[in-house]
């Protein structure tokens, strides 16, 4: 407790303060101290014991505390985390979730708002990702492998990574279109998103096609 601006009494603990805030009279201050201690005792008994602090999982402590004081911001945060956990837990089993997550990394999840919302779902360095780079479309290469050299690389995090966060974009500028194929596989399924890079002067145009239906291996 501390006296500020002569009159107001302010407490460290907002909850205690809200319950016990007083103005300047000595008696009221004493009563507020009693109330504050009572509140502290409640907290100590519920989740503030040393044993609980040291060994009880924080989530359990926090959920117990929510029983006594409904903190709406914390409740919303738990709802968001629970939704993300459920969504991620479905990934190994749900084709729809897999499609969403892979298309997000291929910039092929439409509309943009859906992609933007999915960006906040963590997907840290996962899936085997590859990028195929060629000067001719792959279907033409199948007929004649000598059309152009093809480079395939394993890519960290997401297939189009080499196009971004690289200061050497000069290498992407070419007289002829550059055909890229983002390949991602996950638990027996494989997605391929074609992309064509063309350049006008120093401006690079990236045209991303439709992701192929996942082929069952």
């Amino acid at each position: 407790m501390m006296r500020v601006n002569g009159n107001d009494t302010v407490f460290f603990n907002d909850q205690v303060g809200a319950a016990c805030e007083t103005k300047d009279t000595h008696d009221k201050e004493i009563s507020s101290v009693d109330a504050g201690l009572a509140c502290d005792m409640h907290h100590v008994g519920e989740c503030g014991s040393l044993k609980a602090i040291m060994f009880l999982p924080p989530l359990i402590q926090s959920l117990r505390a929510l029983r006594w004081s409904k903190d709406s911001a914390v409740c919303i945060a738990y709802a968001v985390f629970a939704a993300i956990f459920i969504f991620l837990a479905c990934l190994p089993f749900s084709a729809a979730v897999q499609n969403m997550q892979v298309r997000k990394l291929h910039f092929a999840l439409h509309p943009f708002a859906a992609w933007a919302a999915d960006q906040f779902v963590p997907s840290m360095y996962n899936y085997p990702n590859r990028l195929v780079i060629s000067y001719a479309p792959l279907h033409e290469l199948d007929a004649s492998q000598e059309l152009a050299p093809v480079r395939t690389m394993t890519v960290n995090h997401y297939s189009f990574h080499p196009m971004y966060l690289d200061t050497d974009r000069q290498r992407l500028i070419s007289d002829q279109p550059l055909h890229l194929y983002a390949l991602t596989s996950y638990r027996g399924r494989e997605w391929m998103t074609p992309c064509v890079l063309t350049s006008e002067g120093n401006v690079i145009h990236m045209q991303i096609g439709t992701t192929d239906e996942p082929a069952q291996r």
Binding site: F11, Q15, L59, A73, Q119, P122, Y127
Partner: protein
């Protein structure tokens, strides 16, 4: 005589917030040589036009401003006012969100972890005058939830035969020639041996990420003792730039640790008051 208005914020809450901001900024700026050249030179000299993105999220200016704006958060090291802490947290979170949605920086995990840590900081700084046990329990629990969803995303995405066998990590290790121990390892061991090692490294990585995905259900100190060394070890077989992604999460764990110390101190004093009532 009236005293100037003073905000009463517990010292450890200030320290916890400052540690989060400091390690967040370490991660944010750890790739600054790359990002400064990329955002200020490459995007201007060789702009990319991807019609998937709205014009706003293709603008180089947006990326530049969003990258530099969080430097305003340095103000929290010279002030103790809650408003400045809140402002810093909001700026950090919004900047992360902008870069996460920007064409030229989307999908970079740096901005994704930064966003979630920033969001935690917004909540924490908003209520940082509180020091009750409930608040501290929520702070630690939400911090672990942030850490857990990051590793849950990584964990489920790696549940594939290619990752479990170590093939993906070994390919990246051999192709990218990165990692703190990479050159030494390559100089002393042949590729076949390295690939056998990666079978086990990859399994350890997946199990470790799975364990951290359960962090909110584990005692806080156990998560700190195991999680922080686990994250620090990432750079041994990946690039050191991985710290741009992980340092903000490490900061979050350390902040929660500091809050435990505060709660222990508060509990001690509460026990004394119970023993010797007024």
């Amino acid at each position: 005589m009236s005293l100037p208005s003073v905000e009463l914020i517990p010292e450890r809450s200030i320290m916890a917030a400052r540690i989060v901001v400091a390690l967040w900024l370490v991660g944010w700026t750890s790739k600054c040589v790359l990002f400064m050249e990329y955002f200020f030179k490459t995007l201007v000299s060789h702009p990319m036009v991807n019609d998937f993105f709205p014009v706003f999220f293709r603008s180089a200016l947006v990326a530049q401003v969003a990258y530099l704006l969080p430097l305003l958060a340095l103000c929290v090291f010279v002030t103790r006012r809650r408003a400045w802490f809140c402002l810093a947290a909001v700026v950090m979170t919004v900047s992360s969100a902008l870069l996460l949605l920007h064409q030229d920086s989307a999908n970079d995990a740096t901005f994704e972890t930064s966003f979630w840590v920033g969001a935690w900081l917004v909540w924490f700084t908003w209520s940082m005058r509180r020091s009750d046990a409930d608040f501290l329990a929520h702070a630690r629990s939400l911090a672990l939830c942030v850490v857990a969803i990051q590793f849950c995303g990584g964990f489920v995405g790696k549940l594939t035969s290619e990752y479990w066998s170590g093939q993906v990590l070994a390919d990246m290790f051999m192709e990218q020639k990165q990692g703190l121990a990479a050159s030494w390892v390559r100089a002393h061991f042949d590729e076949a041996t390295i690939r056998i090692w990666f079978q086990w490294i990859s399994k350890c990585l997946i199990v470790g990420e799975g364990a951290l995905a359960l962090a909110p259900l584990l005692p806080y100190r156990l998560v700190c003792y195991t999680g922080i060394p686990f994250m620090l070890s990432f750079a041994l077989f990946k690039t050191w730039m991985i710290y741009s992604v992980l340092s903000c999460l490490i900061g979050l764990l350390i902040a929660g640790w500091i809050l435990i110390a505060q709660e222990v101190a508060d509990t001690d004093s509460a026990s004394l008051r119970r023993k010797y009532p007024m």
